[in-house]
């Protein structure tokens, strides 16, 4: 699934960022550029969901994994 349409980010993009050790909300906003003019603000508002997704890499590899709600 796409998790951020403003930046064209998919779940796997978030996993990759998470694997690189970026999992805190603030860091994610900064690294992914979620607070610039192109962004609608939805992802900053619901940043905890992206942070969860970034840390949930291993859980998501199993087939019945929970999905991001985007």
């Amino acid at each position: 699934m796409y998790v951020c349409l403003c930046k064209g980010l998919t779940e796997s993009d978030i996993h990759r960022v998470g694997q690189a050790g970026i999992v805190e909300a603030e860091k994610l906003v900064e690294v992914l550029g979620l607070n610039d003019d192109e962004c609608c603000g939805r992802c900053v508002r619901d940043i905890q969901e992206l942070a969860d997704l970034a840390t949930r890499k291993l859980a998501l590899q199993s087939s019945n994994s929970p999905r991001c709600r985007y």
Binding site: M1, Y2, L5, T10, R42, R69, Y70
Partner: protein, 159 residues
């Protein structure tokens, strides 16, 4: 005609869900076209247009009830990266739509707005039909496998 209490709010909520669905279906349709899945492209595009017709009806009805159609608000558009993800995302949106429409329908019955209720009931029927179609696709995928299913979505050359 003045609206009964709470009806405009419900209609605007449904309008938001509708405007969101138009976009979701439309982008899914275009992605299918880009992948060469002509059959799906047409089907999903048609659904996007259906939602637009619903939006047209809702806007007209809100104005008739002397309300202001809220064209500003848009919900989260759930875009799948694959056909399966798209179908599941669309199924979820339709189920959410049915839930909202049903809630609105009983509200209309409660306040005695039978015209609006009737209109919304028709929309529920439409959503139910589309849910049925999506569920059939998901079931077919389960039975024949994704590859087989997708190969039947590809456009056949003429002649």
């Amino acid at each position: 005609m003045k609206a009964k209490e709470g009806v405009i709010d419900f209609l605007n909520k449904i309008l938001t869900a509708d405007l969101t669905s138009i976009n979701q279906y439309f982008v899914h349709a275009k992605m299918c076209e880009n992948w060469g899945y002509e059959r799906l492209h047409h089907k999903v595009r048609e659904r996007s247009f259906d939602e637009m017709k619903d939006a047209e009806e809702l806007i007209g009805h809100i104005l008739y009830l002397e309300g202001v159609p809220n064209m500003q608000r848009l919900g989260a558009v759930h875009v799948g990266e694959t056909v399966s993800e798209q179908l599941k995302a669309d199924l979820k949106s339709e189920q959410e739509m049915v839930r909202l429409l049903t809630e609105a329908t009983s509200h209309c019955a409660k306040v005695g707005d039978y015209t609006t209720r009737h209109m919304l009931e028709d929309m529920v029927k439409d959503s139910d039909r589309h849910i049925d179609w999506i569920e059939t696709q998901l079931e077919t995928i389960k039975q024949v496998g994704l590859e087989n299913y997708l190969s039947h979505q590809i456009k056949k050359e003429d002649g």
